[in-house]
């Protein structure tokens, strides 16, 4: 009985992922090799033109810009998220659950709605400026909305939980006796952190970075709303190809390229990490 249920649930999820994950991705891969046709979605004719188009310097520029923003956002999320995850993982268990609940609370509303709320915070006459002005901390309202800073704030806010959760899961299972052992052997706290805690939580860090980096390049509505509809992210480029230029094949090629780049990054990590970090190598 239990076996049947197992087969059923695993089978269901596999089918679901095959249809909506793999199949739709394959459609995009096929689409990216078809010819653009203004009157139809695509013309059934093999071509490499869509990928050649991506070597345009303008597209290259937006790739670089998008990578830069995603890199900074990931770094900021890591710097903010790591200590946060560490502190949660050291709390008593009941408080841990409350902290996790609070962390996930914002997900109860859609992130588009939260981004609109963010706009009213950052506006010239928004909450932030009003508060800072009345406290006398600034004399001129800060112009944050519709700048790259606003986009970065929006991205970090939206993606921070995706960095904290994998690191927390990793640190929660961390064996405290390793720290005690290091202390007994006379290691200073910074050394323990650098040589014991960090190397052992690398899988969590990599997991978090992967979950943050890709969305940071593709959450186009954040740069549409907070960045003033200037296309900053690769997601805007893809959105634009599909919706504005009505060029599905080139849009598909752009997103396939993005997937390939991410896959290469993960493969490098996978081979270098050689499956598991052993304690010897860490110490």
């Amino acid at each position: 009985m239990r076996n049947k249920f197992q087969y059923f649930s695993v089978g269901l999820i596999t089918t679901w992922l095959c249809i909506f994950g793999l199949l739709s991705f394959l459609v995009m891969v096929v689409m990216s090799f078809l010819q653009h046709d203004p009157d139809h979605i695509a013309l059934w004719h093999f071509t490499l033109q869509n990928y050649e188009d991506l070597f345009d310097p303008i597209f290259f520029k937006i790739f670089i810009k998008s990578f830069y923003i995603a890199f900074m956002v990931t770094a900021a999320c890591l710097l903010l998220g790591y200590p946060f995850a560490y502190i949660i993982s050291r709390l008593p268990e009941r408080l841990q659950n409350t902290a996790l609940l609070l962390l996930l609370l914002p997900f109860w509303t859609s992130s588009v709605v939260r981004t609109y709320a963010m706009m009213s915070l950052l506006k010239t006459k928004g909450l932030l400026n009003t508060a800072l002005l009345s406290l006398g901390l600034i004399h001129e309202p800060l112009q944050i909305l519709f700048t790259n800073t606003a986009v970065a704030i929006g991205l970090i806010y939206n993606l921070l939980p995706f960095m904290i959760l994998p690191i927390y899961v990793n640190l929660e299972r961390f064996d405290i006796s390793l720290i005690e052992a290091a202390k007994d052997l006379g290691a200073k706290y910074t050394t323990i952190f650098r040589k014991v805690i960090i190397p052992l939580s690398i899988p969590g860090i990599v997991g978090g970075c992967t979950l943050v980096f890709l969305p940071a390049m593709t959450l186009f509505f954040i740069s549409d709303l907070l960045g003033g509809a200037k296309a900053l992210l690769l997601g805007n480029l893809i959105e634009d190809q599909f919706l504005m230029a009505n060029n599905w094949p080139r849009g598909a090629a752009t997103s396939v390229l993005l997937t390939v780049i991410m896959a290469i990054g993960l493969l490098i990590y996978w081979f270098k990490s050689n499956k598991r970090i052993n304690y010897d190598a860490a110490i």
Binding site: I62, K123, T124, K125, G228, K230, A231, M244, A245
Partner: protein
């Protein structure tokens, strides 16, 4: 999904067609006030089936999709009228049935997009100019579009999120017509706009009044009705008609060829040509009207507003937007994409 919507719509219209005393009107959203529609139904006993669209492209595609049109009156923008007339999609109007035609401002009865004025009845219009908040730029000399290229406006301009509007200023500042089909001139305009990019803060055309009122942008390009709305709440906001010319858009009523209820279409057109009705519309949405006689029915603050009712000398500086050929439109849409990506 689309098929279902279409089936329901056609069912709806086949019922509507069966009833004789109706007129099917298809217009820009927010440009025909429900008040006007209701008043028409009350006064004439003709039922109005009213539906709206948000882009000329949608209207054009719908009219092209079926041979026998369902609509009796549609409201395209000026530059689509030349295209529709060329493709025999709309008919020449019979002036003898439009006794109120004389109410129209003669400045709008022979526009470039309909030189003989035979196809279209101008309804609402707008002008694209420079908007500035004088609290932030009290003494700046802003007379021309080219002034916006000044480095002191770095990262502060509002541009309309509309490719043709933005290309209009790219072309006008080079001394070209906004209705340019010459690909070389369009490329120059693109390069000219690239030079403007460091000054651009955001692109937006749907929530301009609130952006201006809250001072999230303090300078840029905007439609005069939006600026008027904002200036009612924020007196520092000023609208400037650029001396290096500007563009006037006009949305007009036309009658499709083979309209099912032609007589009712004419009654509708003649009805909205009345000065009182045109004034009713202006009071609702603030879009200026081409109906000169309507001025008498407008409150003085609207009738005398420099933003909404420019003098004839100023108006003569405006260009009517006309249709471009497909090559030029393709070029603009490609350049637009590149502009946004930089």
């Amino acid at each position: 999904m689309k098929k279902w919507v279409f089936m329901w719509l056609s069912l709806f219209f086949s019922v509507a067609l069966a009833d004789d005393n109706v007129v099917n009107v298809y217009a820009w959203s927010q440009e025909v006030s429900p008040k006007v529609v209701m008043q028409f139904q009350k006064d004439t006993g003709i039922k109005v089936n009213f539906s709206t669209f948000d882009s000329n492209e949608a209207l054009y595609a719908k009219m092209k999709a079926s041979k026998q049109t369902q609509y009796d009156v549609v409201e395209p923008s000026s530059y689509y009228i030349s295209r529709m007339a060329r493709e025999n999609m709309i008919e020449k109007l019979d002036r003898s049935k439009l006794s109120n035609y004389g109410n129209l401002n003669p400045a709008f009865t022979h526009p470039d997009y309909d030189p003989t004025g035979e196809y279209s009845i101008p309804w609402v219009l707008g002008l694209t100019g420079i908007v500035v908040n004088r609290k932030y730029y009290p003494h700046d000399k802003l007379e021309k579009w080219t002034d916006l290229w000044s480095p002191k406006y770095r990262d502060s301009l509002l541009l309309l999120d509309d490719p043709r509007e933005v290309f209009n200023i790219g072309l006008l500042t080079l001394g070209y017509s906004p209705n340019e089909n010459n690909l070389q001139h369009l490329q120059q305009a693109y390069q000219n706009l690239v030079a403007l990019l460091p000054n651009v803060r955001l692109y937006n055309s749907s929530s301009v009044p609130s952006l201006l009122i809250d001072e999230d942008v303090t300078i840029g390009m905007a439609w005069n009705a939006d600026v008027y709305k904002a200036s009612l709440q924020n007196p520092n906001i000023e609208f400037i008609y650029p001396k290096d010319k500007f563009v006037i858009w006009v949305d007009c009523f036309v009658v499709p060829t083979n309209a099912p209820h032609r007589e009712n279409a004419y009654r509708f057109l003649n009805y909205v040509l009345q000065a009182k009705i045109a004034a009713m519309q202006v009071k609702e949405t603030f879009y200026p009207t081409a109906n000169l006689a309507a001025r008498a029915y407008l409150p003085p603050e609207i009738a005398n507003s420099k933003i909404l009712s420019p003098s004839p000398e100023v108006l003569s500086q405006g260009y009517f937007q006309t249709d471009l050929n497909d090559n030029a439109l393709d070029a603009i849409s490609r350049y637009w994409q590149l502009l946004k990506l930089q």
